[in-house]
């Protein structure tokens, strides 16, 4: 092989590596983050849109509601559940007499899990379709990009947002109802730890955080929050994915004698970390995990090794809010799901928030809807919310723990479904 050929091949290699790196990077930018909230919104009291009596049929021209969701591509698995939540809401509203007495009509485009498509499609919804109302996009990267479009066009936009940064742009028409906030991820954990006697709390924390915007959002408040609890951070590092070897993380934490371990990552890297913890027989009093341990695959794939891990969520099928049990039944009957998936509940709740705004303002005028939402309390299947000037409710998130193969609610106490297991039992027990 000539030197010339070799150099040419190297160029091909660099080109190939670059393409792959771009593709992987793009995949990693907008992870399909499951929701993880922390302190509780007040228990909702009014009913969701589950029709009980036979109301008058909606009349007049339909209210057009449009948006885009990732129905194919990397985030389709979750995007489809958001779509189902939207459609269930529309079905319920129309069965209950419509919105302002008119039927609602959903148009949901497939953005193929691409943010640029999400932006273009929302522009189309606004300017070509001339939709009366917008529904929110997914995941956080798409929602954050669409928030700017909605704000520019002065349209109310309810979604999970793209963490705190997306709600700190000075936008006035955007709402997180509920939002998905990395910064609030461990709110429930902090609350529960504060409830423990000081002597029982962990003393030393090892924090390992995935090197992306979601990880950064989760990590942001941790030093201050842990310090307030009297927990010293002995290791605090970020890692890139794919994580080649989890053993160094575990040996660092073990060497520093950390008794609380934060794995602020996603499913694949956190699975590796848990496997390495077991292999190296490192058993801290508490393992907290970011995004990953509340999805069914965690228990299905890790089995008992995945038990006793704490995490967070913003919605949960066991929450005592009105309408949740019905969504569980719908998910079982329509989709053969054991309970309502988190993003099914999310989608339904976002549309309910929009509905409350329209019904409260009694008009489709966007500014009137916005102003009503900002000055009133609303109730959804995800809880009761008020909003600040950014469109955010007060910080909250629920604490979860995997116990006997189920994701149980631990904190706050009024939503608790099981007593927490703490300290963590030894591996294999």
């Amino acid at each position: 092989m000539t030197h010339h050929t070799s150099r040419r091949q190297m160029l091909w290699a660099m080109l190939g590596a670059w393409i792959v790196a771009l593709a992987v990077g793009a995949c990693g930018q907008a992870p399909a983050a499951p929701a993880a909230p922390t302190t509780a919104p007040t228990a909702p009291t009014t009913a969701p849109a589950a029709p009980t009596t036979a109301p008058a049929a909606p009349q007049g021209a339909p209210i057009k509601i449009g948006c885009s969701l990732p129905l194919t591509g990397a985030f389709a698995d979750t995007g489809v559940w958001v779509q189902r939540g939207y459609e269930q809401w529309a079905e319920d509203v129309n069965a209950a007499g419509g919105l302002l007495g008119r039927p609602v009509e959903l148009t949901i485009y497939d953005d193929e899990s691409k943010t640029e498509n999400a932006v273009n499609l929302l522009n189309r919804v606004i300017s070509v379709d001339q939709a009366d109302l917008l529904c929110g996009g997914y995941p956080g990267t798409a929602a954050a990009a669409q928030m700017a479009v909605a704000e520019k066009n002065q349209k109310v936009y309810v979604s999970m947002g793209g963490h705190m940064a997306s709600f700190s742009q000075g936008f006035t028409y955007v709402f997180g109802a509920p939002p998905l906030m990395g910064q609030w991820w461990y709110e429930g954990l902090y609350g529960w730890l504060a409830s423990l006697p000081e002597a029982e709390r962990p003393k030393k924390a090892a924090i390992f955080t995935i090197n992306n915007p979601v990880g950064a959002a989760i990590l942001e408040p941790m030093p201050e929050k842990l310090s307030a609890l009297g927990i010293e951070i002995v290791v605090n590092e970020r890692y890139d994915v794919p994580l080649t070897d989890a053993a160094p993380l575990v040996t660092k934490a073990k060497g520093a004698e950390a008794d609380i371990f934060f794995a602020n990552g996603f499913f694949p890297d956190s699975v590796q970390i848990v496997k390495a913890m077991r292999a190296l027989d490192y058993n801290p009093k508490l393992i907290a995990q970011g995004v990953g341990s509340i999805i069914p695959a965690w228990v299905e794939e890790l089995g008992a090794d995945g038990y006793y891990v704490f995490s967070g969520t913003a919605v949960h099928p066991s929450l005592p809010f009105e309408g949740i049990s019905r969504l569980n039944e719908v998910a079982r009957a329509k989709y053969n799901a054991p309970v309502a998936p988190i993003y099914f509940i999310f989608g339904y709740a976002w549309m309910q928030a929009l509905q409350r705004g329209v019904e409260g303002a009694q008009t489709l005028d966007q500014t009137a809807i916005r102003d009503w939402l900002k000055s009133n309390q609303i109730t959804t299947v995800a809880g009761t919310f008020t909003f600040d000037e950014r469109g955010l409710p007060p910080p909250y998130n629920y604490l979860t723990q995997v116990i006997d193969g189920k994701v149980e609610l631990i904190w706050p106490p009024e939503v608790r479904t099981k007593e927490p297991i703490y300290p963590k039992p030894a591996w294999g027990q």
Binding site: M10, A23, A247
Partner: protein
């Protein structure tokens, strides 16, 4: 610090073996057939799924499923080379680019096939030895890591012996080193490249099973594995079997060392920094003449 270093180095070395066996077929196909098979890791992930399926559906350990997977993947590689690669390369103005685009598309097709068959849910292989460990002094060695390394030693060793000791292997080497000369001496280029391609895809199956012992996987995982494959091949030298082995081990060691001495977030920076330096100093790779 010493314990951390020993633990990280051991882990890194064993992981390096898995990276090597994942990469060796890619390197061989590229060197011999001049086809950059971007679908290589998609085949590896497919093998990981088949191993997972064998274990969870029939209780057959993925290692025991390998004897069935190897000839199957060999035939897949032969079919792919005969029906797609060769036909495309003959008609294309730029065969290198055309076949790369072709294999990229094939990778996407395989990925979508896996999505349909197994959903996008991530999978974890849980074998009887997943939680087993071996204590060597203060260092704990995980059994799956050791087995993945063993797979690498056997596969790469067998490939090396094949190219050094058999007539067909020597023909493969001849085609790699001087295709024109090989053709003039009577070697059937099509036959040799097709067989080499089949073997390359068969090693992807071994690499996929080895990686699945260490990592979670889903249909899109092949793209992240491909990054490491490129790194190994560039470092080791295109087409070099021993180069892939050496490069895999070096990369594993670098990961192990850098995990202890530099922040974890810098690991990739160290790795790719090394790649740039190497390309400047030795663009043909470590073991390519």
């Amino acid at each position: 610090m010493l314990y951390e270093l020993a633990q990280s180095l051991t882990g890194g070395l064993l992981i390096g073996g898995a990276l090597a066996v994942l990469s060796v077929g890619f390197s061989m196909a590229w060197g011999i057939t001049h086809v950059l098979n971007v679908a290589h890791c998609a085949f590896a992930v497919l093998a990981a799924y088949l191993g997972y399926w064998a274990l969870n559906r029939w209780g057959i350990d993925p290692l025991l499923a390998l004897p069935i997977m190897l000839p199957t993947f060999f035939l897949l590689g032969v079919a792919m080379h005969t029906l797609l690669i060769r036909a495309t390369a003959r008609r294309a103005h730029d065969p290198g680019l055309a076949t790369m685009v072709l294999t990229f598309g094939l990778g996407i097709v395989i990925e979508n096939g896996m999505l349909l068959a197994w959903t996008p849910d991530p999978r974890v292989l849980k074998t009887a030895y997943s939680a087993l460990t071996l204590q060597v002094g203060p260092v704990i060695v995980q059994a799956p890591h050791l087995i993945a390394f063993g797979l690498a030693v056997i596969t790469i060793g067998a490939l090396y012996l094949f190219t050094e000791r058999t007539f067909m292997g020597k023909a493969v080497r001849a085609v790699w080193q001087q295709p024109m000369g090989a053709a003039l001496s009577g070697i059937d280029l099509d036959r040799v490249t097709t067989i080499a391609y089949g073997m390359a895809v068969a090693t992807a199956a071994v690499g996929g099973v080895a990686m699945s012992l260490l990592y979670t996987f889903d249909p899109a995982t092949h793209l992240s594995w491909l990054v490491y494959v490129f790194l190994v091949v560039i470092l080791g030298g295109v087409g070099s079997i021993l180069g892939s082995a050496l490069a895999g081990l070096i990369i594993g060691l670098i990961i192990g060392i850098s995990s202890v001495f530099v922040p974890l977030a810098w690991n990739n920076l160290v790795l790719f920094g090394l790649l740039i330096v190497l390309l400047l100093l030795r663009p043909q790779g470590l073991l390519q003449r």
